[in-house]
Amino acid sequence: MADWNLLEKLCTARGISGREDEIRALILKEIKSCADEIKITPLGNIVAFKAGKQHPNTKLMISAHMDEVGLIVTHVTDEGLLKFETVGGIDRRILPGKSVTVEDGISGVIGVKPIHLLEKDQISKSVPLKDLYIDIGASSREEAESCVKPGDMVTFDSYFDRQGGMIMSKALDDRAGCALLIGMMKAQLKYDTVFVFAVQEEIGLKGARTAAFSVAPQAAIVVESTTAADVPGVEEDRQVCRLGKGPVISFMDKGTIYDREYYQLAFQAAEKAGVPCQAKQAVAGGNDAAAIHVSRAGVRTAAVSLPCRYLHAPFGMIAQEDYCSAGQLLIQYAEMIEERNAT
């Protein structure tokens, strides 16, 4: 049975790219009793070594990223409102009217001009980022500056819900991946494995690039969340992947052509583990694999992703079943990568 409380704790923790302190501390607490060695790299990645029953021939690194998308305060206006930029790829249409928290718990909302005062053609137009701001209730610049400054982190307010076999929460990308890694570390593994909890994925894979350099693995599995577009209005051939159909295996995305043998091996691993899995049916998106597979002299790399609706929005949705299947698949897959290479 999956540890939903752990997933809730991880998703609720706040940490945009470059500000992963809280989530890092939480993960360290969770893994300290089951890791044999833990290192923090200069950029803040966690590199944790877990001894298995045997030493493998292939050094395998399994990686998930800790950071989440959010906003960053850039300027305080004379009226005491906060201007901001997005951190990570956020569609600006999800921003108006959202509830947010700035830095150490200052509450705010993202305001827009009332609908009553809009010109007719503005009603269905998205609001440009430059016209959006965060209102923390300050009545002057001085009042706002007493508790907020440029560079402060902003995260979406969210809930963690389990309903009808689904999970709805913020930051499932990629705290769900982190939770899967922690779940693996808490189990008895057959082979030694290096687990990486990477920083700064959302702004250009800086964490994974440097973590892969310091680990110098021969094989890598990136555990991610990927766009599921199985929603009304999207034709079947553009849905990429579907909730409830199992973890998603990528052959290619915008950043990586995945190792072909490992790609095929993943389906065999799923079959052996008795869980469903699906191919990612689009060349879209990208993840830490793009940085990892070109590390040093090259790393044979695979990606196992959870299908997730509404990626990079305040609330995503994954299927509990897919999460559990991914956990089982990863254990089997890691073993098969070693055993395949050994023969």
């Binding site: 249409r93 009332p114 609908i115 005062l117 998205s126 609001v127 701001y133 923390i136 009808g164 949705m317």
Partner: protein
Amino acid sequence: MQELKELVFRLCKAGGTPGDESAAAAAAAQKFPGCAETHTDALGNLLAVMGDPKSKNHILLDAHLDQIGLVVTRIEKNGFLRADRCGGTDQRILPGTAVTVCGKEELHGIVCCMPPHLTGGDRDKVPAPDKMAVDIGLSREEAEKRVQPGDRILFRTEPKSLLGTRITAPGLDDRSSVAALIRCAQLLTEKPPRCRVTFLCSTREEVGGQGAVTGAYGADPSQAIAVDVGFAAQPGVEPEKCGKLGGGPMIGYAPVLNRGISEKLVLLAEKSKMPYKRDVMGEDTGTNSDDIAATRSGVPTGLVSIPLRYMHTPAEVVDLQDVENTARLLAAYIREAE
């Protein structure tokens, strides 16, 4: 101020979209102090009466109970809900918003937002509400057991304190005015007024004000003041068209409003040294006062508005100081009139 905040939050947490205000009415009914009777009428209006029932001087104070939201129109074959506006919901705030579906049980949902790989060049457009869908993560079969067309959908955002005395919550339009009515009743409780006062928490304002039409007819007052929210200064809103958060109640001047009542409200605000703003409108006020003034053979009517930012979004903001001052102004008016 803490007590007032708790009252506003409690009223906001009890949802009520147009035509489905019973939860909000029940939350408000529990809180009216010193009223001999509270009752609801055929359209769901909540009426609370105070003072001398025989007095010819009968003042009606109105605030509307309902808030904007969505209404379920259809359940898709994959279990997604199709919905449309219930009141003047701003479609620009819908994508990615958390909602509560008020079906046979309360369900959590997310308004679908566009998958990033499909949004290529059309990020400038926000689809109309009836083109969006609400994801409750259930199969059609499971969804149909719990939800049916006509069920309402509310924004699921927790009320929050901002800096100072400012707060945010969905539904502050117009629960902050309902709170002002309740607070006004509290202020009057110690010495019940010699005139007759009816507090009308009216339904369906966001779809046309049908509650106020029938509520005012039923109450048959000799004069009335409608209390609603007004635009507060914010970027993109012309200063001459709005009040200001913390700037006190906005006292309405409009052709349909009784000038004597407007003047008296200004005088009372000045006497009590509270901030206020003359809120001048050349045409309709867009509030219940338009209908109340035209009830039966006509009712002299005033309008007081609480300044509010981001109207018709889940991120509405008011300053509690303005709610308190509005309540004090109304209480002073009744004391003066009795």
